[in-house]
Amino acid sequence: MDFSLTEEQVMVRNMAWQFATNSIEPTATGDDNAEHFPQEIIGEMAPLGLLGSIVPQEYGGSGLDYISHAIIIEGIARASLSIALSVFGSHSVVEEMLMTWGSDQQKQRYLPLMCKGELFSCCALNEPGVGTDVGNFGSWAELSQGWWVINGEKVFVVNGGVSTLILAVTKVSKNGGERGLGAFLITRDVAGFSSQDTVTKNGLRACNIANVYFRGCRVPQENLLGSIENGNKIVESLLHGINFSIAASCVGVAQACIDASIKYAEERQAFGRTIGKFDMIQEMIADMTIGTEAARLLTYQVADLKTRKQPFSKQLAMARYLASDVAIRAATDAILVHGAYGFGKDLPLERYFRDVAEAIEDGGSPLIHKLTVARHALGIS
């Protein structure tokens, strides 16, 4: 078992951290305040290969492994969880879905444009009131004269208001009977499509989150991703993609909390010394560090399994649960290390906290991930 990063992974880490520090960090707090989605930063990510890190080179991507992907997500999330979730929790997940389930024609048609940033995308899964409970979805697609006709509503779609390509999962019906689930590639310009941005969010304020509506949208048959028989598996892999990016993002924010806490503990004076000299402050920094490192290693383990195409759902549930728990804890403790300043908006700690609290609600409650771990452990399907 070798825990060292490859030369390529080290290069990727340096590049992502540098980009995050120079190009994201300076405007992250301002974008949060203004609730502004920084489209221009997404554009700058394309030439660096950050919009297609896991896409094979033949389709215009960087062809990196999943550990590199996790490292990139972490690096970006350290500066902005909003951008990390937008790019890696939605756009990259669509790329991954195309790579896993797409036809050659679909891959050739979409992936190169997605890597270049010319086609920005999103996954539309959640429905009002039922979330990801696919059995109770109210949206549906029906074949009519050689076209899929799609009707329904998806909520809280990350990038929903700013993407050109929408991957939507709906129920499929035929002659009134239900036939399972279908995943459809829909472009924004299709008649009957509309979206409504969510405003005054608490966290992820620099991320575009929108409700999207399909009213009789006609989609060519070749835009069905994979097959209807595999509908449930596609949903599962979609949730896996989202949760993997959330786990890696949480590790990144937790690291940002550690970095800020160490810096402050070395500067702030109280009772005649820097507060970093106090055991109780040290304990908080130790707890953050232990948790973050454990969550990071679990996430890399998932990444390794993904790269080697091995089953990973138990490991992902563990990583996702621990990473979100660690990140909330680290953000809370980082606020505490900074005292009242941590509660104020002059420092980014409160933004880290709001962003984490928002992000971990995406992709299922921590309770679900815990139960997934238990069901794997107990062998319950």
Binding site: K201, I209, I281, I335, K345, E358, L367
Partner: protein
Amino acid sequence: MVILQFDEEVANLFFELTEEQKEIKQRARDYAEKRISVVQEEDYDKGVFRPEIVKEMGELGFFAGVVPEEYGGNNVGFLGTVLCVEELGRVSASYCMLPTSQTVGPGLTILRHGTEEQKDKYVRGLVSGDIIGCFSSTEPDAGSDVAAMKMVAVEKGDRFILNGTKTWATGGSVADMGLFWVYTDKEKGTRGISCFIVDLKDSPGISTHLIEELGLHCCRASEVAFQDVEISKDCLLGNKGEGYGILMETLGESRLCASTRALGLGHACLDDCINFVKERKQAGQKIGNLQLVEARIAEMYIEHEAARMLIYQVAANKDRGIGDPLDVPTAKYVACEAAVKAAETAMEIFGSFSFPLNMALRRYMNDSRCFPITEGTRNILKLIISRTLLR
């Protein structure tokens, strides 16, 4: 071997409520649900504080529990006051700070240490809400370490000249008066700290600015800067050099209310979660039937009840004149940690049903992060407790 001795009187736990206490609890609940919840919904994201709420609460007697009748008191005591703060806190972690910034902080401190003139000038107004109060010992570079403060008051004839900056004063920008702790003799360390009553509206040289915060958006903290502010000698509260002792007393009581604010927020989380899991279905069954959800609800209740008992005990004992250096820090620690956790549990239970976070959840999450910081951080409380035990 050291064996903890429990004072029998302290351990005598009866919280039988008087009719007045029951009434003020109900009054606070009604007012919070009918009035505060409505304005808070409208104001929270905009960070608006409504000064008229102070007057309304004053009229309802929410600041009158801890003062004698001659100053407008209503005899509900600390127990009645915490019941009231708990009910207000169930709806708003912002507005439930007012009983502290009015009477539990400034009003009571002036009653204890003030001259007849000082009591006459301020206490009735703080009780009725005609005067808005605030207090602060904190400075940009001096929080838990009070002695690190830099602000000074220099004696000049029959005046004091104040220079320095106090910060995180709840209500500082709207307050008419405030208590501020400053050095009159820096050489003497904590024995050189004095407490002053400052009229904020008609003292030239004072400027305030609102602090942007994570939560508590309806009752905002301010920085209060003093530049050559001249005040009369009559503004000194108690004697010179007594400030530190006065502050510790004030904090003892404001800390009790801080724990009660956390209790109120925990109560709200519990209420919301119970209502939610009884209604919400996932994959065909009510989520309240899921054992893990049941476990979380039970844990929230257990921790909430433990905090409640501790707080009521401290309050009831205070009303009987019984004090203990461990009781307030213990109650505050338990209540604040319970509230922080309750907010997170509420998030877990609402899961992705609340993405993006709804208004109540965002308030619980954001507001609760102040509890382990304000009025004695988590670490300071632990130090007080262990140092008392190890003394």
